[in-house]
């Protein structure tokens, strides 16, 4: 019987139409590998691309492959850069990407970047190169100033979204707000909460007046209550609001205006900011609480005790809550009884060094897990935890997809039993079958890794600190976690044996980070030799500090052979920081002197 290959007779347009139903980039990646014809059709019709590691592919190649690109998401530095473990000037430069896109992808509308270094010139180019540009989202980035923002505001005529989350932005004055077009803007979402400097309040008010589509507005600390009230009056249909400084006198006009304005906000679903908030201003917020799905109080250390309890009791539809541990176990217990729809909880430490009395403990977490069965995402900093609590929590909430627990003191055992937390975290991986992201802490032996390797089959990202006994720990994870994409380890006794236990595994992962572990130069060299498709990068701390001192004019160069000491023949030297990632781009050309690619 003659078998017909029916697919060959489909016109390209039809295949493209079929592909248009594939929205997830995993699926699009898969179909592109079927045959040359499909690769071509897929790449020309691809609209969104996600690059989880900006060094996994050269920008030119990515941009040339997808000329019809509308939306690009990029991540730069390793995650531990958030905690100062990666020296400055390490890399993650946005420039080459924006330049490549400018050459090949004129239809670009959205650019999302995380942990990348962006300059004002880059933003300038962005404004000029992409006439349809609509959305810029920068998370945890640095290297630019308010001048760069002005360039974007000025040049991107159809800008809909400017979302700045926790970036380090140099303040060069408040003029950037004036740079938006004089006519009506198309702004839907504007978030400048992370800006540290002053804001021209009149400009802000005028901007809001001429932005009729505004749904999300997050102000920075410099915006006082008077302005906030005026703004809310102007946009009663706001869905997402980040307040400025919430300080007002009881009998002031500003306070009264705020109260009235907030009462009109029927569509408000998400609230954040609360800088410097006084208990009085918290009262003004009550009328909107009943419809809130998201609440971020994590920058409001003065909201605690009864004030917090009174507020949260109104928030019966809350799905996402970010707070400081100053709300205490008592506060969390009230959350558990009021917020039955809660899905995501983040409890940040208000006292980084755990020097004061315990604020939240296992009690608060158990209460939440009992009261909020829909909980699936947790970030919890605490001074105290027990295995028994973790076991209870894992049974109450089997739907966790993200579970991150940070017991503030490294290597602390369970105070009730003096045992490590192997069983507690083991219970989490056993009971929560959908766990994708996991961070563990406290005293931990190899046993917890045995459990993770055995049970955490859906796990994609694992963060480990101050844990384990031997190489076997890391090996359990590498062997068992089939879906692992990112593994980051610090201060654990894993050595070359663990690093080399399963070298082909790293090709299936995005990246591996190891710092302050027990690996040697010999081991890293062996890995690099065996796996040429990986970049094996070593960060030389001393060199990095020298470079910084040079840049600051504190030190002089005494030798030109910067890399010489890397290679002085002693391969038994311990490697302080290792970053390994798969790439088709080869060793990176922008590596600073203190990064050595083996």
């Amino acid at each position: 019987m003659k078998v017909q290959s029916a697919m060959f007779y489909f016109p390209e347009e039809v295949i493209e139409h079929i592909f248009s139903f594939l929205t997830h980039h995993h699926d699009r990646n898969t179909v592109s590998t079927v045959c040359k014809a499909w690769y071509k059709i897929e790449r020309l019709s691809r609209r969104e691309v996600f690059v989880g590691n900006c060094y996994a592919i050269r920008p030119d190649r990515a941009a040339a492959r997808f000329p019809g690109l509308w939306s690009l998401s990029l991540k730069g530095k390793p995650h531990f850069a958030d905690f100062d473990l990666v020296p400055p000037d390490w890399g993650g430069l946005a420039g080459p990407w924006i330049e490549a896109l400018a050459r090949s992808c004129p239809n670009l509308e959205e650019l999302r970047m995380k942990r990348m270094v962006v300059s004002d010139e880059n933003l300038e180019l962005l404004g000029h190169a992409f006439p349809k540009f609509k959305a810029l989202v920068l998370v945890s980035c640095e290297g630019f100033s308010t001048d760069g923002l002005a360039a974007v505001a000025r040049s991107c005529k159809s800008l809909r979204e400017l979302d700045l989350q926790e970036n380090e932005i140099e303040d060069r004055g408040p003029r950037w707000l004036n740079s938006f077009p004089d006519m009506c803007t198309s702004l839907v979402s504007l978030n400048f909460a992370c800006l540290k400097g002053e804001v021209n309040l009149k400009s802000l008010e005028r901007l809001v007046c001429r932005s009729p589509n505004l749904k999300c507005l997050r102000l920075n600390r410099a915006v006082p209550v008077e302005t906030l009230a005026k703004i809310i009056n102007q946009c009663p249909n706001l869905e997402d609001l980040g307040t400025g400084s919430l300080l007002a006198d009881q009998f002031s006009e500003a306070y009264v205006s705020l109260v009235c304005a907030l009462q009109k906000c029927k569509k408000l679903r998400s609230l954040s900011g609360f800088w410097d908030v006084s208990p009085l201003c918290l009262l003004a917020v009550y009328p909107v609480c009943a419809n809130l799905t998201g609440l971020n109080l994590s920058y409001a250390p003065t909201v605690q005790g009864q004030d917090f309890i009174n507020l949260i009791q109104h928030c019966v539809k809350l799905q996402r809550l970010w707070v400081l541990d100053s709300v205490g176990d008592k506060g969390l217990t009230v959350v558990a009884s009021a917020c039955k729809e809660l899905q995501e909880l983040r409890v940040f430490p208000s006292d980084l060094f755990a020097a004061g009395p315990a604020t939240v403990t296992e009690e608060g977490l158990v209460a939440i897990s009992t009261g909020c069965p829909k909980l699936n995402s947790l970030l919890y900093f605490c001074q105290s935890m027990t295995n028994s609590a973790l076991i209870t929590v894992s049974k109450n909430c089997p739907n966790f997809t993200r579970f991150r627990l940070a017991i503030l003191e490294p290597r602390k055992p369970d105070p009730a039993t003096n045992e490590p937390f192997d069983e507690g975290f083991g219970a989490v991986v056993k009971n929560c079958k959908n766990l994708r992201r996991f961070s563990i802490s406290g005293l931990l032996t190899d046993q917890v890794f045995y459990y993770i390797g055995k049970y955490a089959k859906a796990l994609e990202m694992l963060s480990i600190a101050f844990a384990g006994d031997t190489d076997q720990g890391m090996t359990y994870v590498l062997n068992g976690c089939k879906n692992l994409r990112k593994l980051e380890i610090r201060d654990c006794p894993f050595g070359d044996g663990a690093l080399l236990a399963d070298v082909t595994k790293y090709e299936t992962m995005r990246s591996l980070w190891m710092s302050s572990c027990d690996i040697s130069l010999r081991g890293c060299k062996a890995l690099a030799t065996k796996m040429p498709s990986l970049n094996v990068e070593i960060i030389n701390e001393w060199e990095a500090e020298m470079e910084e001192n040079l840049n600051n004019g504190v030190a002089e160069v005494i030798s030109n052979n910067n890399n010489k000491h890397f290679n002085n023949g002693n391969d038994d030297r311990k490697v302080e920081k290792l970053y390994v990632y798969r790439t088709v781009g080869g060793p990176r050309s922008d590596a600073p002197d203190f990064v050595w690619t083996l």
């Binding site: 905690f83 380090e168 009085l280 005790g305 940070a406 105070p415 890397f566 030297r573």
Partner: protein
Amino acid sequence: MSVETERSSTESEVSGLDYEETALTLRLPGGTSRVAGSELDRKRGFSETVELGLGSGAPVGTRGVASTDDQSDESPESQASVAEKPPAPKARVVGWPPVRSFRKNVMKSCKLVKVAVDGAPYLRKVDLEAYTGYHQLLTALQEMFSCFTIRNYPDEERKLVDPVNGTEYVPTYEDKEGDWMLVGDVPWKMFVESCKRVRLMKSSEAVNLAPRAQQS
């Protein structure tokens, strides 16, 4: 239960560069001196700091570090007094707890102090950095315990009055040296820098409190 091998290369990161090691040559930190023994010594130092700093009930013995055992055995009084004192500042580990630098910087710029009112059942906290001067602070205090109104006296003393029973309250604060002072005596910036906590004291009790006087 195995005694965990404690690894802490954080000591050098905490104290900055290990200058002895890098003084004369350009080489990787640690270099050839990374011998197990010396590492272990460094680690002991780290765990000692942490253990003593805790003053907690956790038996030091389980850590298997001999030196701390000796210390806990020979002076029960000192251990008790360690437990009572506020924990000594712990060794700062780079990048721990895992909080984004942005958030850390925001928190650093806070100056939180507790506010207590004689007779009131609960404390509040205020961020002194949020206010620009005494008037703002007093207004905020007034609102917090909103039964008060501010009564201005001609000699610039500021008192808070509870209209229900007419009791006057005087805002006082404890400074770095542990002395209780009247709020308003020193320039605002100096106050923000030295204030540890605030107490609204009943006027009757504050009689003995003169500017910069010691509490008897």
